[in-house]
Symmetry: C2
Subunit: 288 residues, 2 copies
Protein backbone atom coordinates (compact mmCIF):
# COMPACT_ATOMS: atom_id res chain seq x y z
CA UNK A 1 0.00 0.00 0.00
CA UNK A 2 1.24 3.48 -0.90
CA UNK A 3 0.66 5.83 2.02
CA UNK A 4 1.29 9.53 1.56
CA UNK A 5 2.07 11.35 4.81
CA UNK A 6 1.75 15.13 4.49
CA UNK A 7 3.64 16.75 7.38
CA UNK A 8 6.56 14.67 8.68
CA UNK A 9 6.44 15.88 12.29
CA UNK A 10 5.69 14.13 15.57
CA UNK A 11 2.28 12.77 14.59
CA UNK A 12 2.79 12.14 10.87
CA UNK A 13 6.22 10.61 11.52
CA UNK A 14 5.00 8.38 14.33
CA UNK A 15 2.08 7.15 12.21
CA UNK A 16 4.49 6.34 9.34
CA UNK A 17 6.77 4.36 11.67
CA UNK A 18 3.81 2.45 13.12
CA UNK A 19 2.52 1.63 9.60
CA UNK A 20 5.91 0.24 8.63
CA UNK A 21 5.97 -1.85 11.81
CA UNK A 22 2.43 -3.24 11.47
CA UNK A 23 2.24 -3.46 7.66
CA UNK A 24 5.83 -3.99 6.51
CA UNK A 25 4.85 -3.86 2.84
CA UNK A 26 3.79 -0.20 3.20
CA UNK A 27 5.59 2.34 1.04
CA UNK A 28 5.65 5.72 2.77
CA UNK A 29 5.61 8.73 0.45
CA UNK A 30 6.70 11.70 2.53
CA UNK A 31 5.59 15.26 1.77
CA UNK A 32 6.89 18.25 3.70
CA UNK A 33 7.25 21.86 2.61
CA UNK A 34 10.39 22.05 4.74
CA UNK A 35 13.20 20.25 2.79
CA UNK A 36 15.23 19.82 5.98
CA UNK A 37 12.37 17.87 7.63
CA UNK A 38 11.98 15.79 4.48
CA UNK A 39 15.70 14.91 4.55
CA UNK A 40 15.56 13.99 8.22
CA UNK A 41 12.48 11.83 7.64
CA UNK A 42 14.34 9.88 4.93
CA UNK A 43 17.39 9.43 7.16
CA UNK A 44 15.28 8.36 10.14
CA UNK A 45 13.46 5.75 8.06
CA UNK A 46 10.13 7.54 8.43
CA UNK A 47 9.66 8.00 4.68
CA UNK A 48 10.74 5.68 1.85
CA UNK A 49 10.64 8.45 -0.73
CA UNK A 50 9.88 12.17 -0.85
CA UNK A 51 7.47 13.65 -3.37
CA UNK A 52 5.83 16.96 -4.11
CA UNK A 53 2.38 17.39 -2.58
CA UNK A 54 0.35 16.98 -5.80
CA UNK A 55 2.26 13.93 -6.97
CA UNK A 56 2.24 12.31 -3.52
CA UNK A 57 -1.51 12.66 -3.05
CA UNK A 58 -2.44 11.58 -6.58
CA UNK A 59 -0.33 8.40 -6.53
CA UNK A 60 -1.25 6.96 -3.12
CA UNK A 61 -3.89 4.59 -1.75
CA UNK A 62 -4.14 6.41 1.58
CA UNK A 63 -3.23 10.05 2.24
CA UNK A 64 -2.83 11.49 5.74
CA UNK A 65 -2.84 15.21 6.54
CA UNK A 66 -0.68 15.78 9.62
CA UNK A 67 -0.07 19.49 9.22
CA UNK A 68 -1.20 22.43 11.41
CA UNK A 69 -4.99 22.78 11.21
CA UNK A 70 -4.93 26.06 9.27
CA UNK A 71 -2.83 24.40 6.56
CA UNK A 72 -5.24 21.44 6.53
CA UNK A 73 -8.11 23.77 5.70
CA UNK A 74 -6.42 24.61 2.43
CA UNK A 75 -5.11 21.09 1.82
CA UNK A 76 -8.31 19.14 2.45
CA UNK A 77 -10.33 20.16 -0.65
CA UNK A 78 -7.18 20.14 -2.83
CA UNK A 79 -6.36 16.64 -1.63
CA UNK A 80 -9.89 15.37 -2.34
CA UNK A 81 -9.61 16.83 -5.86
CA UNK A 82 -6.26 15.12 -6.49
CA UNK A 83 -7.06 11.78 -4.88
CA UNK A 84 -7.62 8.64 -6.94
CA UNK A 85 -11.31 7.76 -6.70
CA UNK A 86 -10.58 4.55 -4.77
CA UNK A 87 -8.02 6.15 -2.47
CA UNK A 88 -8.80 7.38 1.05
CA UNK A 89 -7.98 10.65 2.79
CA UNK A 90 -7.67 11.03 6.55
CA UNK A 91 -6.49 13.87 8.77
CA UNK A 92 -5.17 14.06 12.35
CA UNK A 93 -6.38 17.59 13.18
CA UNK A 94 -7.25 18.62 16.75
CA UNK A 95 -10.38 20.48 15.62
CA UNK A 96 -12.95 18.74 13.46
CA UNK A 97 -16.05 20.85 12.84
CA UNK A 98 -14.59 23.30 10.31
CA UNK A 99 -12.82 20.48 8.42
CA UNK A 100 -16.01 18.44 8.15
CA UNK A 101 -17.85 21.55 6.92
CA UNK A 102 -15.21 22.19 4.27
CA UNK A 103 -15.47 18.59 3.02
CA UNK A 104 -19.28 18.47 3.34
CA UNK A 105 -20.26 19.15 -0.26
CA UNK A 106 -17.22 17.76 -2.02
CA UNK A 107 -18.14 15.07 -4.57
CA UNK A 108 -15.58 12.76 -2.95
CA UNK A 109 -16.73 13.42 0.67
CA UNK A 110 -17.17 9.67 1.17
CA UNK A 111 -13.45 9.05 0.66
CA UNK A 112 -12.59 11.29 3.63
CA UNK A 113 -12.50 10.05 7.23
CA UNK A 114 -12.07 12.74 9.93
CA UNK A 115 -9.85 11.47 12.74
CA UNK A 116 -8.29 12.82 15.90
CA UNK A 117 -5.70 10.68 17.70
CA UNK A 118 -5.53 11.65 21.39
CA UNK A 119 -1.78 11.35 21.42
CA UNK A 120 1.15 13.68 21.42
CA UNK A 121 4.09 14.89 23.42
CA UNK A 122 5.47 18.36 24.05
CA UNK A 123 8.09 17.70 21.34
CA UNK A 124 7.81 18.29 17.60
CA UNK A 125 9.55 17.56 14.30
CA UNK A 126 10.62 14.25 12.70
CA UNK A 127 13.19 13.56 15.46
CA UNK A 128 10.36 13.54 17.99
CA UNK A 129 8.49 10.75 16.14
CA UNK A 130 8.45 7.21 17.53
CA UNK A 131 6.58 4.06 16.40
CA UNK A 132 4.60 3.61 19.62
CA UNK A 133 3.19 7.13 20.06
CA UNK A 134 -0.29 5.91 19.09
CA UNK A 135 -0.09 2.64 21.01
CA UNK A 136 -2.89 2.26 23.59
CA UNK A 137 -4.24 5.73 22.82
CA UNK A 138 -7.73 6.81 21.76
CA UNK A 139 -8.60 7.47 18.11
CA UNK A 140 -11.72 9.56 17.66
CA UNK A 141 -13.63 9.06 14.40
CA UNK A 142 -15.92 12.02 13.57
CA UNK A 143 -19.02 11.98 11.36
CA UNK A 144 -18.37 8.41 10.15
CA UNK A 145 -21.88 8.30 8.63
CA UNK A 146 -20.61 10.73 5.98
CA UNK A 147 -17.70 8.45 4.98
CA UNK A 148 -17.79 5.39 2.72
CA UNK A 149 -17.92 2.10 4.60
CA UNK A 150 -14.73 0.70 3.03
CA UNK A 151 -12.84 3.86 4.01
CA UNK A 152 -14.00 3.64 7.64
CA UNK A 153 -13.32 -0.10 7.77
CA UNK A 154 -9.74 0.22 6.52
CA UNK A 155 -9.02 2.86 9.14
CA UNK A 156 -10.58 0.75 11.89
CA UNK A 157 -8.31 -2.11 10.86
CA UNK A 158 -5.20 0.08 10.71
CA UNK A 159 -5.69 1.75 14.07
CA UNK A 160 -6.84 -1.40 15.87
CA UNK A 161 -3.61 -3.02 14.66
CA UNK A 162 -1.78 -0.21 16.47
CA UNK A 163 -3.66 -1.14 19.67
CA UNK A 164 -5.68 2.04 19.61
CA UNK A 165 -9.11 2.40 21.25
CA UNK A 166 -11.71 3.68 18.83
CA UNK A 167 -14.45 6.15 19.65
CA UNK A 168 -17.11 7.83 17.48
CA UNK A 169 -18.71 11.25 17.75
CA UNK A 170 -20.07 14.28 15.94
CA UNK A 171 -17.60 16.96 14.89
CA UNK A 172 -19.24 19.81 16.85
CA UNK A 173 -19.50 17.64 19.95
CA UNK A 174 -15.81 16.69 19.55
CA UNK A 175 -14.71 20.32 19.36
CA UNK A 176 -16.67 21.35 22.45
CA UNK A 177 -15.40 18.54 24.67
CA UNK A 178 -11.82 18.67 23.42
CA UNK A 179 -11.72 22.37 24.38
CA UNK A 180 -12.14 21.35 28.02
CA UNK A 181 -10.15 18.15 28.10
CA UNK A 182 -7.21 19.11 25.90
CA UNK A 183 -7.08 22.70 24.67
CA UNK A 184 -7.74 24.21 28.12
CA UNK A 185 -4.87 22.25 29.72
CA UNK A 186 -2.52 23.60 27.09
CA UNK A 187 -3.54 27.19 27.82
CA UNK A 188 -3.38 26.68 31.60
CA UNK A 189 0.15 25.39 31.11
CA UNK A 190 1.29 28.11 28.68
CA UNK A 191 -0.08 30.76 31.08
CA UNK A 192 1.64 29.12 34.06
CA UNK A 193 4.95 29.09 32.22
CA UNK A 194 4.56 32.75 31.24
CA UNK A 195 3.59 33.84 34.76
CA UNK A 196 6.54 32.11 36.39
CA UNK A 197 9.03 33.27 33.72
CA UNK A 198 7.83 36.88 34.04
CA UNK A 199 7.76 36.97 37.83
CA UNK A 200 10.91 34.97 38.44
CA UNK A 201 13.37 37.12 36.54
CA UNK A 202 16.15 35.26 38.28
CA UNK A 203 16.04 31.79 36.72
CA UNK A 204 18.07 30.45 39.60
CA UNK A 205 14.93 30.56 41.72
CA UNK A 206 13.01 28.40 39.26
CA UNK A 207 16.06 26.18 38.98
CA UNK A 208 16.36 25.76 42.77
CA UNK A 209 12.72 25.45 43.64
CA UNK A 210 10.94 23.67 40.82
CA UNK A 211 9.95 20.13 41.66
CA UNK A 212 8.34 17.39 39.64
CA UNK A 213 4.94 18.98 40.33
CA UNK A 214 5.82 22.19 38.54
CA UNK A 215 7.52 20.27 35.70
CA UNK A 216 4.42 18.17 35.19
CA UNK A 217 1.98 21.09 35.26
CA UNK A 218 4.08 23.25 32.95
CA UNK A 219 5.12 20.48 30.53
CA UNK A 220 2.65 21.45 27.81
CA UNK A 221 4.07 25.00 27.77
CA UNK A 222 6.89 23.49 25.70
CA UNK A 223 4.44 22.59 22.89
CA UNK A 224 4.80 23.87 19.34
CA UNK A 225 3.33 27.40 18.90
CA UNK A 226 2.98 26.81 15.15
CA UNK A 227 0.73 23.85 15.79
CA UNK A 228 -1.32 25.40 18.60
CA UNK A 229 -1.99 28.94 17.35
CA UNK A 230 -4.27 27.69 14.52
CA UNK A 231 -6.08 25.32 16.91
CA UNK A 232 -6.77 28.16 19.34
CA UNK A 233 -8.05 30.26 16.43
CA UNK A 234 -10.28 27.56 14.96
CA UNK A 235 -11.77 26.37 18.22
CA UNK A 236 -11.83 29.89 19.64
CA UNK A 237 -15.47 29.92 20.66
CA UNK A 238 -15.36 26.70 22.66
CA UNK A 239 -11.98 27.53 24.17
CA UNK A 240 -13.17 30.97 25.20
CA UNK A 241 -16.09 29.36 27.05
CA UNK A 242 -13.76 26.85 28.72
CA UNK A 243 -11.35 29.63 29.71
CA UNK A 244 -14.21 31.63 31.22
CA UNK A 245 -15.14 28.69 33.41
CA UNK A 246 -11.50 28.11 34.39
CA UNK A 247 -10.84 31.78 35.21
CA UNK A 248 -14.07 31.87 37.25
CA UNK A 249 -12.88 28.82 39.23
CA UNK A 250 -9.51 30.47 39.91
CA UNK A 251 -11.21 33.68 41.04
CA UNK A 252 -13.32 31.62 43.47
CA UNK A 253 -10.20 29.84 44.71
CA UNK A 254 -8.46 33.18 45.21
CA UNK A 255 -11.41 34.43 47.28
CA UNK A 256 -11.21 31.32 49.45
CA UNK A 257 -7.50 31.95 49.97
CA UNK A 258 -7.95 35.68 50.60
CA UNK A 259 -10.53 34.82 53.27
CA UNK A 260 -8.20 32.15 54.71
CA UNK A 261 -11.26 29.87 54.51
CA UNK A 262 -9.64 26.48 54.88
CA UNK A 263 -12.97 24.71 55.36
CA UNK A 264 -14.03 25.76 51.87
CA UNK A 265 -10.58 25.12 50.42
CA UNK A 266 -10.64 21.55 51.82
CA UNK A 267 -14.10 21.04 50.29
CA UNK A 268 -13.04 22.22 46.83
CA UNK A 269 -9.86 20.14 46.83
CA UNK A 270 -11.79 17.04 47.89
CA UNK A 271 -14.07 17.57 44.91
CA UNK A 272 -11.03 18.01 42.64
CA UNK A 273 -9.58 14.74 44.01
CA UNK A 274 -12.38 12.94 42.13
CA UNK A 275 -10.19 13.31 39.04
CA UNK A 276 -8.03 10.51 40.48
CA UNK A 277 -10.91 8.05 40.12
CA UNK A 278 -11.77 9.29 36.63
CA UNK A 279 -8.16 9.08 35.44
CA UNK A 280 -7.69 5.68 37.09
CA UNK A 281 -10.60 4.52 34.93
CA UNK A 282 -8.64 5.72 31.93
CA UNK A 283 -5.48 3.93 33.05
CA UNK A 284 -7.48 0.77 33.56
CA UNK A 285 -9.02 1.09 30.12
CA UNK A 286 -5.63 1.66 28.56
CA UNK A 287 -3.98 -1.45 29.95
CA UNK A 288 -7.03 -3.68 29.38
CA UNK B 1 21.13 7.37 66.23
CA UNK B 2 17.53 7.61 67.43
CA UNK B 3 15.46 9.49 64.88
CA UNK B 4 11.90 10.45 65.78
CA UNK B 5 9.66 10.93 62.73
CA UNK B 6 6.44 12.78 63.55
CA UNK B 7 3.93 12.14 60.77
CA UNK B 8 4.40 8.81 58.98
CA UNK B 9 3.09 9.90 55.57
CA UNK B 10 4.72 10.23 52.16
CA UNK B 11 7.51 12.59 53.22
CA UNK B 12 8.17 11.39 56.78
CA UNK B 13 7.96 7.76 55.68
CA UNK B 14 10.28 8.25 52.71
CA UNK B 15 12.82 10.08 54.88
CA UNK B 16 12.73 7.21 57.42
CA UNK B 17 13.31 4.62 54.68
CA UNK B 18 16.21 6.65 53.23
CA UNK B 19 17.80 7.01 56.70
CA UNK B 20 17.65 3.26 57.23
CA UNK B 21 19.23 2.72 53.82
CA UNK B 22 22.05 5.26 54.27
CA UNK B 23 22.64 4.86 58.03
CA UNK B 24 21.66 1.26 58.81
CA UNK B 25 22.24 1.73 62.52
CA UNK B 26 19.40 4.28 62.71
CA UNK B 27 16.50 3.48 65.03
CA UNK B 28 13.31 5.07 63.76
CA UNK B 29 10.81 6.09 66.43
CA UNK B 30 7.51 6.66 64.66
CA UNK B 31 4.86 9.06 65.96
CA UNK B 32 1.46 9.41 64.33
CA UNK B 33 -1.84 10.48 65.84
CA UNK B 34 -3.56 8.03 63.51
CA UNK B 35 -3.01 4.49 64.98
CA UNK B 36 -3.77 2.90 61.61
CA UNK B 37 -0.92 4.83 59.96
CA UNK B 38 1.39 3.91 62.85
CA UNK B 39 0.54 0.21 62.36
CA UNK B 40 1.12 0.41 58.64
CA UNK B 41 4.46 2.17 59.16
CA UNK B 42 5.62 -0.66 61.45
CA UNK B 43 4.50 -3.30 58.96
CA UNK B 44 6.14 -1.49 56.02
CA UNK B 45 9.45 -1.23 57.92
CA UNK B 46 9.27 2.57 58.04
CA UNK B 47 9.37 2.69 61.86
CA UNK B 48 11.19 0.37 64.26
CA UNK B 49 8.95 1.33 67.15
CA UNK B 50 5.97 3.58 67.80
CA UNK B 51 5.91 6.03 70.70
CA UNK B 52 3.71 8.81 71.99
CA UNK B 53 4.71 12.27 70.80
CA UNK B 54 6.22 13.52 74.09
CA UNK B 55 8.23 10.37 74.70
CA UNK B 56 9.41 10.13 71.09
CA UNK B 57 10.70 13.69 70.97
CA UNK B 58 12.35 13.63 74.40
CA UNK B 59 14.27 10.38 73.77
CA UNK B 60 15.69 11.03 70.30
CA UNK B 61 18.84 12.57 68.82
CA UNK B 62 17.05 13.99 65.78
CA UNK B 63 13.35 14.81 65.52
CA UNK B 64 11.58 15.51 62.23
CA UNK B 65 8.20 17.19 61.90
CA UNK B 66 6.51 15.88 58.76
CA UNK B 67 2.93 16.87 59.56
CA UNK B 68 0.62 19.41 57.86
CA UNK B 69 1.98 22.94 58.41
CA UNK B 70 -0.84 24.02 60.75
CA UNK B 71 -0.04 21.09 63.05
CA UNK B 72 3.67 21.99 62.91
CA UNK B 73 2.89 25.44 64.26
CA UNK B 74 1.66 23.86 67.47
CA UNK B 75 4.29 21.12 67.52
CA UNK B 76 7.39 23.23 66.89
CA UNK B 77 7.60 25.10 70.26
CA UNK B 78 6.44 21.99 72.17
CA UNK B 79 9.11 19.91 70.46
CA UNK B 80 11.85 22.44 71.28
CA UNK B 81 10.71 22.37 74.93
CA UNK B 82 10.82 18.57 75.07
CA UNK B 83 14.04 18.06 73.11
CA UNK B 84 17.27 16.96 74.79
CA UNK B 85 19.65 19.92 74.73
CA UNK B 86 22.05 18.17 72.34
CA UNK B 87 19.32 16.85 70.08
CA UNK B 88 18.27 18.50 66.81
CA UNK B 89 14.83 19.38 65.44
CA UNK B 90 14.04 19.73 61.73
CA UNK B 91 10.82 20.17 59.81
CA UNK B 92 9.76 19.53 56.20
CA UNK B 93 7.07 22.23 55.93
CA UNK B 94 6.25 23.89 52.59
CA UNK B 95 6.02 27.35 54.19
CA UNK B 96 8.89 28.63 56.31
CA UNK B 97 8.39 32.23 57.45
CA UNK B 98 5.77 31.65 60.15
CA UNK B 99 7.66 28.61 61.51
CA UNK B 100 10.91 30.57 61.77
CA UNK B 101 9.03 33.38 63.55
CA UNK B 102 7.52 30.94 66.05
CA UNK B 103 10.96 29.49 66.83
CA UNK B 104 12.70 32.88 66.81
CA UNK B 105 12.81 33.60 70.54
CA UNK B 106 12.88 30.06 71.85
CA UNK B 107 15.92 29.43 74.10
CA UNK B 108 16.72 26.34 72.00
CA UNK B 109 16.35 28.12 68.60
CA UNK B 110 19.85 26.99 67.66
CA UNK B 111 18.81 23.32 67.77
CA UNK B 112 16.20 23.90 65.05
CA UNK B 113 16.97 23.75 61.33
CA UNK B 114 14.16 24.85 58.98
CA UNK B 115 14.09 22.66 55.85
CA UNK B 116 11.97 22.24 52.76
CA UNK B 117 12.61 19.25 50.52
CA UNK B 118 11.37 19.97 46.97
CA UNK B 119 10.00 16.49 46.59
CA UNK B 120 6.63 14.85 46.64
CA UNK B 121 4.10 13.00 44.59
CA UNK B 122 0.35 13.31 44.31
CA UNK B 123 0.00 10.35 46.70
CA UNK B 124 -0.11 10.37 50.49
CA UNK B 125 0.07 8.08 53.53
CA UNK B 126 2.69 5.51 54.62
CA UNK B 127 1.97 3.26 51.61
CA UNK B 128 3.02 6.11 49.30
CA UNK B 129 6.50 6.36 50.94
CA UNK B 130 9.59 5.07 49.11
CA UNK B 131 13.29 5.27 49.97
CA UNK B 132 14.30 7.26 46.90
CA UNK B 133 11.73 10.08 47.01
CA UNK B 134 14.42 12.56 48.11
CA UNK B 135 17.11 11.22 45.76
CA UNK B 136 18.47 13.89 43.39
CA UNK B 137 16.00 16.50 44.69
CA UNK B 138 16.64 19.94 46.16
CA UNK B 139 16.71 20.53 49.93
CA UNK B 140 16.25 24.16 50.88
CA UNK B 141 17.78 25.25 54.20
CA UNK B 142 16.19 28.45 55.58
CA UNK B 143 17.75 30.93 58.02
CA UNK B 144 20.76 28.69 58.71
CA UNK B 145 22.52 31.58 60.47
CA UNK B 146 19.99 31.13 63.32
CA UNK B 147 20.85 27.43 63.77
CA UNK B 148 23.83 25.92 65.62
CA UNK B 149 26.68 24.88 63.35
CA UNK B 150 26.67 21.22 64.45
CA UNK B 151 22.94 21.00 63.75
CA UNK B 152 23.35 22.41 60.24
CA UNK B 153 26.40 20.22 59.56
CA UNK B 154 24.65 17.00 60.56
CA UNK B 155 21.75 17.81 58.25
CA UNK B 156 24.11 18.66 55.38
CA UNK B 157 25.76 15.27 55.85
CA UNK B 158 22.46 13.40 56.02
CA UNK B 159 20.91 14.98 52.95
CA UNK B 160 24.07 14.90 50.88
CA UNK B 161 24.24 11.15 51.60
CA UNK B 162 20.76 10.96 50.02
CA UNK B 163 22.16 12.65 46.88
CA UNK B 164 20.19 15.81 47.51
CA UNK B 165 21.23 19.23 46.21
CA UNK B 166 21.41 21.81 49.00
CA UNK B 167 20.31 25.41 48.70
CA UNK B 168 20.14 28.22 51.27
CA UNK B 169 17.78 31.17 51.57
CA UNK B 170 15.80 33.43 53.86
CA UNK B 171 12.39 32.21 55.02
CA UNK B 172 10.39 35.15 53.59
CA UNK B 173 12.22 34.84 50.27
CA UNK B 174 11.49 31.10 50.25
CA UNK B 175 7.76 31.62 50.81
CA UNK B 176 7.47 34.22 48.04
CA UNK B 177 9.24 32.15 45.39
CA UNK B 178 7.66 28.85 46.35
CA UNK B 179 4.22 30.47 45.88
CA UNK B 180 5.03 30.87 42.18
CA UNK B 181 7.01 27.74 41.52
CA UNK B 182 5.04 25.22 43.58
CA UNK B 183 1.88 26.48 45.26
CA UNK B 184 0.54 28.14 42.09
CA UNK B 185 0.91 24.95 40.03
CA UNK B 186 -1.13 23.09 42.61
CA UNK B 187 -3.95 25.62 42.42
CA UNK B 188 -3.86 25.75 38.62
CA UNK B 189 -4.20 21.97 38.65
CA UNK B 190 -6.95 21.80 41.31
CA UNK B 191 -8.91 24.46 39.37
CA UNK B 192 -8.44 22.59 36.07
CA UNK B 193 -9.71 19.38 37.65
CA UNK B 194 -12.74 21.17 39.11
CA UNK B 195 -13.56 22.96 35.83
CA UNK B 196 -13.45 19.78 33.78
CA UNK B 197 -15.36 17.71 36.35
CA UNK B 198 -18.09 20.36 36.61
CA UNK B 199 -18.44 20.95 32.87
CA UNK B 200 -18.08 17.37 31.76
CA UNK B 201 -20.93 15.83 33.72
CA UNK B 202 -20.61 12.76 31.52
CA UNK B 203 -17.36 11.19 32.65
CA UNK B 204 -17.27 9.18 29.46
CA UNK B 205 -16.14 12.31 27.63
CA UNK B 206 -13.19 12.77 29.96
CA UNK B 207 -12.53 9.07 29.70
CA UNK B 208 -12.57 9.10 25.89
CA UNK B 209 -10.77 12.35 25.26
CA UNK B 210 -8.16 12.82 27.97
CA UNK B 211 -4.62 12.31 26.77
CA UNK B 212 -1.30 12.33 28.53
CA UNK B 213 -1.29 16.14 28.34
CA UNK B 214 -4.42 16.48 30.45
CA UNK B 215 -3.21 13.78 32.86
CA UNK B 216 0.06 15.61 33.36
CA UNK B 217 -1.50 19.04 33.85
CA UNK B 218 -4.15 17.77 36.24
CA UNK B 219 -1.95 15.35 38.20
CA UNK B 220 -1.51 17.64 41.20
CA UNK B 221 -5.31 17.86 41.60
CA UNK B 222 -5.01 14.44 43.22
CA UNK B 223 -2.90 15.89 46.07
CA UNK B 224 -3.94 15.66 49.72
CA UNK B 225 -6.42 18.42 50.71
CA UNK B 226 -5.43 18.01 54.39
CA UNK B 227 -1.84 18.86 53.57
CA UNK B 228 -2.57 21.71 51.14
CA UNK B 229 -5.36 23.66 52.90
CA UNK B 230 -2.99 24.80 55.71
CA UNK B 231 -0.27 25.73 53.19
CA UNK B 232 -2.73 27.86 51.21
CA UNK B 233 -3.80 29.52 54.46
CA UNK B 234 -0.30 30.20 55.73
CA UNK B 235 1.15 31.42 52.48
CA UNK B 236 -2.10 33.17 51.54
CA UNK B 237 -0.61 36.57 50.81
CA UNK B 238 2.08 35.35 48.41
CA UNK B 239 -0.27 32.85 46.76
CA UNK B 240 -2.91 35.53 46.27
CA UNK B 241 -0.34 37.69 44.47
CA UNK B 242 0.76 34.75 42.30
CA UNK B 243 -2.87 33.90 41.49
CA UNK B 244 -3.53 37.51 40.49
CA UNK B 245 -0.67 37.36 38.03
CA UNK B 246 -1.83 33.99 36.69
CA UNK B 247 -5.46 35.06 36.29
CA UNK B 248 -4.30 38.25 34.54
CA UNK B 249 -2.24 36.14 32.11
CA UNK B 250 -5.25 33.92 31.37
CA UNK B 251 -7.47 36.95 30.80
CA UNK B 252 -4.89 38.27 28.31
CA UNK B 253 -4.77 34.88 26.60
CA UNK B 254 -8.56 34.81 26.39
CA UNK B 255 -8.55 38.24 24.75
CA UNK B 256 -6.03 37.02 22.19
CA UNK B 257 -8.26 34.03 21.46
CA UNK B 258 -11.45 36.10 21.35
CA UNK B 259 -9.77 38.39 18.81
CA UNK B 260 -8.52 35.34 16.86
CA UNK B 261 -5.15 37.10 17.01
CA UNK B 262 -2.83 34.25 16.07
CA UNK B 263 0.18 36.53 15.65
CA UNK B 264 -0.03 37.50 19.30
CA UNK B 265 -0.84 33.95 20.39
CA UNK B 266 2.27 32.67 18.55
CA UNK B 267 4.37 35.34 20.28
CA UNK B 268 3.12 34.46 23.76
CA UNK B 269 3.60 30.73 23.24
CA UNK B 270 7.12 31.27 21.95
CA UNK B 271 7.89 33.16 25.14
CA UNK B 272 6.36 30.34 27.20
CA UNK B 273 8.54 27.82 25.30
CA UNK B 274 11.52 29.32 27.17
CA UNK B 275 10.48 27.12 30.09
CA UNK B 276 11.95 24.17 28.14
CA UNK B 277 15.44 25.66 28.42
CA UNK B 278 14.98 26.50 32.11
CA UNK B 279 13.67 23.02 32.95
CA UNK B 280 16.38 21.37 30.85
CA UNK B 281 18.87 23.18 33.09
CA UNK B 282 17.17 21.53 36.04
CA UNK B 283 17.28 18.10 34.41
CA UNK B 284 20.96 18.60 33.68
CA UNK B 285 21.63 19.65 37.25
CA UNK B 286 19.73 16.65 38.55
CA UNK B 287 21.68 14.05 36.63
CA UNK B 288 25.04 15.74 37.16
Amino acid sequence: MNVCVVGLGLLGGSFALAMKEKFPETNIIGVDKNPENADKALKLGIADEIKEYDEGISTCDLAVLATPVNVMHRQLPEALDLLDEKAILIDFGSTKEALCEIAENHPKRGRYVALHPIAGTENSGPEAAFAHLLHNKMMIFCEVNRSDKDAVDLNKRIFKSMNMHLSYMGAAEHDLHIAYVSHLSHISSFALGLTVLEKEKNEKNIFNMAGSGFSSTVRLAKSSPEMWAPIFKQNGENISEALDAYIQKLVEFKEIIDNRNDGESLKEMRKANEIRRVLAGIQKKKVS
